[in-house]
């Protein structure tokens, strides 16, 4: 499999705060989920991958090109799509106008082809009917989809999405996941998210960041497998658990070391994530 992303010992600082602490990573085409608590470094990592931010040290190779080289960086940008966490929109644009503006910045200079491409990506995210609506009149979910539309321009080889499902209703989220699965067939797709269901639904692989370090990097089944035998249910919260949460049935799902005689169940991505992050924080404490 072709390695499309390769990071080696990447370090990123904001003043004295360390956002990325010697992160090394190799990704291949497919969907990779990026999980981690707030401030773990997910957005910093995506910004480095999007060539928006240069790391303090370490090497970044994207699509076989060196991201520290100016000429290569421009070539990378021609082949990537990016949706930042906080996407602001220039004032006065319609949905079509904004995506067309981004298309120009992505060097779609032929007006006819550009407009056809803008129509295609708007239709892809289900915004074809609001193309002439001002961005300010769109709902939060529609704006998220508009952000995705601009990222899909030209069917990029690498797609970086920072919390793309925030603000989407369940129906939109389902449609969104279907779209990501489709896009992920031919591209390297990195999705930062707090929604572990997203990872379970669309990702082939998961990277967990905690305190700027990659604490897990591997296939989703392997990630979930780490929690096998470590998840149990009970009728009440159990203080011995690393973490617990109430389920729809009203019972409590626990992760950690199951007490004797407890009802052990099959783990999911959220269990594995809670186990990993809480165990890491336990060690830190």
């Amino acid at each position: 499999m072709i390695r499309t992303v390769h990071l080696s010992e990447v370090v990123q600082h904001y003043g004295s705060a360390c956002a990325l602490d010697a992160v090394s990573l190799s990704l291949t085409p497919g969907v990779t989920g990026l999980l981690g608590p707030n401030g773990a470094g997910k957005t910093s990592l995506l910004r480095v991958l999007a060539t928006v931010q240069e790391p303090v040290s370490g090497t970044v190779s994207l699509l076989g090109l060196d991201a520290s080289d100016e000429r290569d960086r421009t070539s990378i940008r021609r082949r990537l799509g990016y949706v930042p966490q906080e996407l602001g929109f220039p004032r006065g644009f319609t949905a079509f106008g904004f995506v067309e503006y981004m298309a120009v910045l992505k060097e779609w200079v032929d007006a006819e082809r550009r407009r056809a491409e803008v129509r295609r990506v708007l239709a892809l995210v289900g915004l074809g009917s609001v193309a002439t609506t001002k961005v300010t009149k769109l709902s939060g979910g529609m704006r998220r989809r508009l952000g995705l539309a601009q990222a899909l321009l030209g069917s990029p080889e690498m797609l970086l999405l920072d919390e793309p499902t925030t603000g989407l209703d369940p129906e939109q989220r389902a449609a969104f996941r279907a779209l990501l699965l489709d896009v992920g067939r031919n591209a390297t797709l990195v999705v930062s998210t707090h929604q572990t269901e997203d990872v379970a639904a669309v990702c082939d692989r998961v990277v967990v960041l905690d305190d700027g370090k990659a604490v897990f990097d591997g296939p989703v089944p392997e990630f979930v497998g780490h929690a096998t035998g470590r998840v149990w249910v009970g009728d009440a919260p159990d203080g011995s658990a690393l973490a617990h949460r109430r389920t729809a049935s009203g019972r409590y799902r626990h992760v950690g070391s199951p007490p004797a005689g407890s009802e052990v169940i099959a783990p999911d991505v959220e269990d594995a994530y809670l186990l990993l992050v809480n165990a890491a924080q336990e060690v830190t404490r």
Partner: protein, 292 residues
């Protein structure tokens, strides 16, 4: 992470497409639309009800500068600032900030074209109503009140200021990331211009300090009330041609300053060199304007 390495031909095409898009944004901006309407109102009023206290004359250049030049600061500033709302996204595109800034400066030609068109309209309206025949400037070359070079330079003050105002807005937005910086720039520019133009008026205008001050401004008018009777009959001392060269050099310096923000490498070096040349031209033409 911001300099351009795109192929020149492609970069020119991107710049052209981006400039057209920004020009449309400029032309549709409410502040610009209102400014054009106010100028049209001024033209209508000047043609239909000439100002008797002012010898029936209406200095169109001053009106254009006030409405299209000053409003341009706001429009240029807003276009730049609102584009930067997508600042987390824009650096991931292959087109860098230098090209985006150049496109904004090209869009600043919209008020220039509007000024030229409205001046032409005013001129045509005056042909229809000959008694208001000062258009677009108080002094007339055909009657010997002013030479053609000075006349053209005086008239050019308006379109050059229209560009300069909008370009100043872009520069302020690029360099001063403070809320309200655009409005503050307009107020400061207006106050400084009013003080300087006031100093350049009448007998005071003969003083060297007044000439030094008024010619330092990006816009100045040249019709002079020599006898203080409210009628503009003479040219102020100095060179109008020198001043228009100075004003154009200032516009060039504004473009340079805007593009330099965020530029690195060879782009930065070449624009610093351009800026140094423009600064030299501005200095020489300023002295020409004062002493010419």
């Amino acid at each position: 992470m911001s300099t351009s390495v795109a192929e020149p031909a492609q970069r020119r095409q991107v710049l052209g497409a981006l400039a057209r898009l920004q020009a449309r944004r400029y032309a549709r901006h409410p502040v610009f639309v209102v400014a054009v309407l106010l100028v049209l109102l001024g033209i209508f009023q000047a043609v239909t009800a000439p100002d008797a206290d002012n010898g029936g004359e209406w200095d169109a250049t001053l009106s254009f500068v006030i409405w299209l030049g000053l409003s341009g600061v706001i429009v240029g500033y807003r276009l730049t600032v609102t584009e930067d709302k997508a600042i987390d996204l824009l650096p991931s595109a292959p087109t860098n900030q230098a090209v985006r800034t150049q496109a904004l400066f090209i869009a600043c030609l919209v008020p220039v074209l509007a000024t030229v068109a409205l001046m032409a309209l005013y001129g045509l309206a005056n042909l229809a109503v000959p008694e208001t025949s000062a258009a677009p400037f108080h002094l007339r070359p055909d009657t010997g009140e002013i030479g053609w070079p000075d006349y053209l330079a005086s008239v050019l003050e308006a379109p050059v200021s229209a560009f300069g105002g909008a370009a100043l807005g872009v520069v302020v937005a690029r360099w001063a990331r403070v809320t309200g910086a655009g409005v503050l720039a307009v107020i400061l520019l207006f106050l400084v211009e009013v003080i300087a133009l006031g100093a350049g008026e009448g007998a005071v205008g003969d003083a060297l300090w007044a000439r030094l001050l008024v010619n330092l401004m990006p816009y100045r008018y040249w019709a002079f009330q020599g006898a203080g009777d409210g009628v503009y009959t003479t040219m102020a001392p100095g060179s109008a041609v020198g001043h228009i060269v100075y004003a154009i050099a200032l516009c060039g310096l504004a473009v340079t300053a805007g593009i330099l923000k965020g530029a690195t490498g060879t782009l930065r070096t070449s624009w610093i060199r351009t800026g140094a040349i423009l600064f030299g031209i501005a200095a020489v033409s300023y002295l020409w304007a004062v002493f010419g």
